[in-house]
């Protein structure tokens, strides 16, 4: 029982982290109809920037304070993400207005390659730590109830809280503001949105920038857990079942989807895995998402797929 609870908790925490990455996908898709495969690369790029600047800045400025170094690095990394967003709009999206989804998707794959190369060129391809003072050691709850207690990581809890806040803010933004409405309009029809004066260019910069900062937050959390290294891009693959399960267009869906996937894959790996030799969690997550899709093709909270003649 204690172990079940622990697995459940572990799943929820992992799920929250997936959600954070999924959020970036959803934001961009919702606001521009682009399925941004570069999200993983953006997480890596942002995390690399954060890791390296937090190392370099104290060196350059001769700072003693780690906190100050981290804060400065955060802002510089955020600045990098802004510049990146701006460049992507300028050089890529602007020229692909009104193109089909797959074309846009491929363009983001192109961006992925580019970022992978660029990130490693500027920041190196070693493993770099991000130390924002997250507590690393475990705490044990209910030690008197279950044998061995229930283990939780403070780090995970902090991450989950941050993710939850981010989501709350972003969903409010999308549902309640006129910019949010405009973003949804853009996703539906680029041209029509242009025709009524929605400035696609500015909107895209904003959205990619927000997604970039989400990526930065995700990158910091993941990076502080795992270290920043090229493999961070693969967390994107973990987030994909989350978004299709939650629905490509739903911010809360990213969270609920994340939790379901997180819990589902941990439970499956821990309880079913040993029967078939283990290592099933990744495909199990996808199959889980797929099964949900069979009942709701638009995901749990996604906008209904419209087909009408």
């Amino acid at each position: 029982m204690g172990f079940f609870l622990e697995t459940l908790l572990g799943g929820l925490m992992a799920g929250m982290l997936y959600s954070l990455v999924a959020l970036g996908f959803v934001l961009i898709f919702k606001a521009s109809g682009v399925f941004n495969f570069a999200q993983g690369a953006m997480v890596l790029f942002a995390a690399l920037a954060m890791a390296r600047f937090s190392e370099w800045i104290p060196q350059w400025l001769g700072l003693e304070s780690k906190l100050l170094g981290n804060v400065l690095a955060f802002f510089i990394a955020a600045g990098c993400m802004f510049i990146l967003a701006w460049l992507i709009e300028r050089l890529v999206l602007r020229h692909l207005v009104n193109q089909e989804g797959v074309t846009l998707l491929m363009a983001t794959l192109g961006i992925t390659y580019f970022l992978d190369g660029l990130g490693q060129t500027i920041f190196g391809s070693d493993i770099y730590p991000i130390d924002v003072g997250m507590p690393k050691d475990p705490v044990f709850l209910f030690e008197n109830v279950f044998e061995g207690g229930v283990l939780v990581n403070q780090e995970d809890i902090i991450a989950a809280v941050i993710a939850a806040c981010l989501v709350a803010v972003l969903s409010l933004f999308f549902q309640k503001t006129s910019t949010g409405r405009a973003l949804r309009a853009v996703a539906d029809d680029h041209q029509a949105a242009q025709s009524i004066g929605i400035p696609l260019n500015r909107i895209w910069v904003i959205v990619w920038c927000v997604a970039g900062i989400t990526a930065l937050v995700a990158g910091i959390i993941w990076g502080s857990k795992l270290g920043v290294q090229f493999s961070l891009t693969t967390v994107a693959l973990r987030a994909l079942p989350v978004i299709i399960l939650g629905g490509l267009t739903s911010v809360p869906g990213a969270i609920i989807g994340g939790l379901i996937i997180g819990v589902g894959e941990k439970l499956s790996e821990v309880y079913l895995g040993p029967m078939v030799g283990g290592g099933i969690e990744i495909w199990f997550a996808y199959v889980l998402a797929l099964v949900f899709l069979l009942f709701r093709p638009q995901g749990l909270f996604g906008e209904k797929i419209i087909d009408r003649v």
């Binding site: 207005v97 009104n98 006129s178 409405r181 405009a182 949804r184 309009a185 996703a187 539906d188 029809d189 680029h190 041209q191 029509a192 949105a193 242009q194 025709s195 009524i196 004066g197 929605i198 400035p199 696609l200 260019n201 267009t249 906008e303 209904k304 419209i306 009408r308």
Partner: protein, 270 residues
Amino acid sequence: MSTTPTIVLNVNGIEVIYNHVILVLKGVSLNVPEGKIAAILGGNGAGKTTTLRAISNLLKGERGEVTKGSIELRGERIENLSPADLVNRGVVQVMEGRHCFAHLTIEENLMTGSYTRTDKAEVARNLEKVYNYFPRLKTRRTSQAAYTSGGEQQMCAIGRALMANPSVVLLDEPSMGLAPQIVEEVFEIVKDLNTKEKVTFLLAEQNTNMALKYADYGYIMESGRIVMDGAASDLRNNEDVKEFYLGMGGGERKSFKDVKSYKRRKRWLA
């Protein structure tokens, strides 16, 4: 009206090529005077839509480009402005084929039209005005645009453009798919806005009858060229126009039943 009105829109000899190879407009020039209604008429594929797209700068998304000529709005060259800039300058296009935002409700669709405006109260008033023009929209305000009928979507598209409080409206086939009395209403609305709020209109229309009835000036287009232009009243009385576009050759309206099995083709261009 003896003083010559100022020209808002001046299109000067533009050529448009799609996909780098398909030459569609072959030197089109037209003028739209301030506060007037101008109509572009012409058959399928004549290039009406393309002309409007060229003006509102929506060609890029269709992989088309203006290769020659110039377009001026109140004396300012606008070829390099973004569509959003144009809306800020008061030029709004109602696109052919409706293009409502499928996932947004009718009301949200209309509200996106007011994206460029800041005064909330005024926007609310404007929304009421649109609902007044199209009561049908009000009853469907909460349904997603994709699930409304063709005509409702057309109304929504027109209404949405009006929400931007434009000074120049480019209307592409506003009457398409609308019931007869709605068509009339739409043209009445156009006239109304034109006279009361001095909104300038450039419309592309197939419904020549209606268009010439409400427009001040008409351009007739064929295969990418303007082949005839003149005051609407003149065009209405032109024999050729009468025959080809108004169906009144020989003074009388022919029944659609009798067109059977014979075919005429007379064109200004071979």
